[in-house]
Symmetry: C2
Subunit: 270 residues, 2 copies
Amino acid sequence: MAATSWENSVKSLKGVILDMCGVLYDAGEDGGTPIPGSVEAVKRLKASDLQVRFCTNETQATREVFVAKLQRMGFDICVSEVFSPAPAAVAVLKERGLRPHLLVYDGVVPEFDSVEKANPNCVVIGDAAEKFSYQNLNDAFRVLIGLEKPVLFSLGRGKYYKEDEGLNLDVGVYMKALEYACDVEAEVIGKPDPMFFQKVLDDMGIQSQQTLMIGDDLVNDVGGAQHCGMKGVQVRTGKYRPSDEKHPKITGDGHVGAKMAEAVETILKL
Amino acid sequence: MAATSWENSVKSLKGVILDMCGVLYDAGEDGGTPIPGSVEAVKRLKASDLQVRFCTNETQATREVFVAKLQRMGFDICVSEVFSPAPAAVAVLKERGLRPHLLVYDGVVPEFDSVEKANPNCVVIGDAAEKFSYQNLNDAFRVLIGLEKPVLFSLGRGKYYKEDEGLNLDVGVYMKALEYACDVEAEVIGKPDPMFFQKVLDDMGIQSQQTLMIGDDLVNDVGGAQHCGMKGVQVRTGKYRPSDEKHPKITGDGHVGAKMAEAVETILKL
């Protein structure tokens, strides 16, 4: 995209969707730390004419707990502005009368309180981290293989994410494992699923071409957004790796700043 | 294949390759129990003009320990007749000067005693069972993702196997997980890799079309053997599931007996 074309499209923006981990903050054992400038950048965005939403594939905590953590870091954010896979999954399960066997992190279990779980007829996996033991994965496998038509939901399809001590495997890896074991294709709930992004657009009441997504994940954030007709840019924080820049998705206008704060600065100037 | 064609090809047989778990015995916490008739059938095969070899993707113990277990069950079997992935992997590692990070069951580690393992430049995974913890899989992932060109060996590509208490996930599932995480394709050592079967044929000094493989796994035993030009038949024990019979590979002459003993009976009669 030529510079003028990029400038013109940024001028027509009406909303910005922000990924959270790796964009707003770096995860860590102590809950994480804000990426320099990001707290202020969220404030500036919210003070502008642009609508702002937060879109995460985080599935280790309820939105309430997760948002409280971000608020303690200083972010101006509330639960109704945050879109995450677990509440979206609950809506799908209820709509289709499905009773999940859950393989998720303990912290996110309360999101599923309102769903019937006895005698499961599907499996839902999230970023269960150390709960992805052999025994737990085998239990989920046995539920699936015992169903006449196995139904598997994956809360996102991420490969890995970055924490203080290095890269950690994400839910997508275990999704692939169960897909192979049971000859099924998982239904992904979360980024980059277009239905998931559409719910965020509906909430803002704007069109995809009026929206910009800022994320650190080439596939789930940038690719997912572009696939829906949004603009998608990748920051050089979080799980960003230099080799990402070789990807056609983000050449040209794919990077508008090394950090989220610089990307916001660029957008607000135009 | 018409009955006469099948009979003719069985008459030209010079060797039989037997899968072990699910064919000779059923695995279990107590080490397993022989499948009725199989001890006697091995004896009868060995007393015939046919050559006999054993070919397993077992990677939870050294061949020595594994064979001793089978001997205690009453099988006439010795280490030199058994082909398993770990010794084949050791040969490949040495040939290519590779230093493995091992994610394997403790029992099979001694097979790798002669291999340099410091500063790893590849990952080898086997059927690690409960050692497939999140932490251990993440450690293997970090080794792979840190290599300029990740090299992953998988000792087999099985999806699951049967033990007393039900189906258990096998190494192939974790192979798919790491393949997805690192954008690599694993090199499979073991069934159904044609190179692996060829070593068994070389040892017998016969051609593939003179050889019959008896197994319980549709893909690794029957499909793998047929892909190499051998005859492959599936028994109805072990991980066999009725839906396997719908598969084109095993319609027609795919089953010559519900148990290995009956298959051997049929072959020796012709």
